[in-house]
């Protein structure tokens, strides 16, 4: 690294040399701006895409629709992913063909809400569900919220919930590819289809 400094000090002794150095500095600055612009612009662009805004329901001020004692686990619109039951992962022969939940996505960081009143039984890493929350609603009924971001959980084991209680942030932890919520409903230990379950409570899913 000493060679450039030696060249620069020698060049600075003449007028042309100083011009060369000035030109080099100008070109260097231009190249730096050119190279650094994406490093600054891309994070902003990504943040703009992934951080949930109130308009898409990621903010707590935009609470989920509630019907009676139950509500949606996301506030506002969402994209539907894999549904319940036989649902092979496209392009993966070595993946389970059966899906025990209902995948829905709003964007990384969107707030996940409790669907109903109950007691938190699991709050943390849980099998392939990554960072998950499991709520016991009594009578053998359990809802599970999977793949939330690490460090985003806002409830603890034993805490009481009601529809709309913020649980954490939509993420990509565990056996997941791409941010989404894995919403699962279990009755007596067996997963059931969340769509008719929610529809029966006046909350039809897509």
């Amino acid at each position: 690294m000493g060679a450039p400094l030696m060249i620069a000090s020698t060049a600075a002794k003449s007028k042309t040399g100083r011009r060369i150095i000035a030109g080099a500095i100008t070109l260097g600055l231009l190249a730096s701006f050119f190279l650094l612009t994406p490093l600054i612009a891309i994070p902003f662009a990504v943040a703009g895409q992934t951080v949930a805004s109130p308009a898409d329901g990621g903010d707590d001020s935009n609470v989920p629709a509630v019907h009676g004692a139950w509500g949606y686990p996301l506030a506002g619109g969402y994209t539907k992913g894999r549904g319940f039951g036989f649902n092979p992962v496209v392009g993966c022969g070595y993946c389970s063909t059966y899906h025990e939940g209902y995948d829905m996505a709003q964007g990384c960081g969107a707030t996940i809400f409790a669907a109903g009143p109950g007691t938190v039984r699991v709050a943390g890493v849980y099998q392939g569900y990554g960072n998950a929350v499991m709520i016991d609603h009594g009578g053998g009924l359990i809802t599970l919220y999977g793949h939330m971001q690490w460090g985003s959980l806002r409830v603890r084991v034993g805490q009481q919930t009601s529809a709309g209680t913020p649980l954490g942030a939509e993420g990509n932890t565990g056996n997941s590819f791409g941010c989404h919520l894995h919403f699962e409903v279990r009755v007596d230990g067996h997963a059931i289809d969340p769509q008719p379950f929610m529809a029966a409570r006046g909350l039809p899913l897509k």
Partner: protein, 240 residues
């Protein structure tokens, strides 16, 4: 005071000189970085001393495969033994020890041309299709790999139960077989707090192998023509 022409010439020379100077600086910086480049972890992870020779080494193509988190390809003429290894290999990897591309390149060495095609060109084309199919429709997709790699994950796949054999059509040699089996994929990944968590997934998968004179052994290995090789992995289970 210099004439405008002379001043313009000076400016041009200044720009040219600046570009040369910058190029030299950049070259020196790149050379400096190059000499300090970190060795490829996948190569350093498989130092000769880390692998203790064992009696079974002679029965596998690459004894060092296990050090990379992969299943070693057996040298055998027994279809069941080979199918078991082949089905487990396509679901066994460690994202901390190799990239997905390296793993797939390794799996490519298990393949042999499909001898049902008469011309060499057709055989090669079919094998390339099978390798592409492996990447695009069989093994864990790239997005899943990336997600798993983000949590230092690994997967170990084992066959549960027996292999069901499915006839291969248009194979007068009778040397090809399709085997279908249930597999359990044990995922292990970080739990977000410094520890690890494991869980299992289940799938039913199929592989077609050739155990006969037409098989092409892996170069520079103890395999011989006639030893079993993979012809194709299927995107979904093949049943009788």
């Amino acid at each position: 005071m210099a004439a405008p022409g002379a001043r313009r010439n000076g400016l041009v020379w200044a720009i040219v000189g600046a570009a040369v100077l910058l190029g030299g600086v950049v070259a020196i910086i790149i050379a400096s970085i190059g000499t300090h480049a970190t060795p490829d972890p996948t190569h350093s992870a498989t130092s000769p001393s880390s692998h203790a020779p064992s009696p079974s080494d002679s029965a596998v193509v690459d004894p060092g495969a296990a050090d990379k988190g992969w299943v070693a390809e057996p040298v055998t003429t027994d279809p069941s033994t080979y199918m078991t290894a082949a089905l487990e290999a396509a679901g066994t990897f460690d994202t901390t020890k190799s990239s997905r591309d390296q793993w797939l390149a390794y799996l490519d060495t298990w393949f042999t041309p499909d001898t049902r095609y008469s011309s060499k060109a057709d055989q090669q084309a079919a094998m390339q299709r099978s390798k592409l199919e492996l990447r695009q429709g069989v093994v864990l997709p790239d997005s899943d790999w990336e997600s798993l790699a983000g949590e230092d994950g690994r997967v170990a796949t084992t066959i549960t139960g027996s292999i069901t054999f499915v006839p291969v059509t248009e194979d007068p040699s009778g040397d090809m077989r399709i085997g279908t089996a249930n597999v359990t994929l044990k995922y292990t990944r970080s739990d977000g707090s410094g520890g690890e968590t494991s869980y299992e997934d289940h799938a039913r998968v199929s592989v077609q192998v050739l155990c006969g004179p037409g098989s092409v052994p892996t170069p520079d290995s103890s395999q011989r023509a006639g030893d079993c090789k993979v012809v194709r992995y299927f995107t979904q289970a093949m049943e009788p």
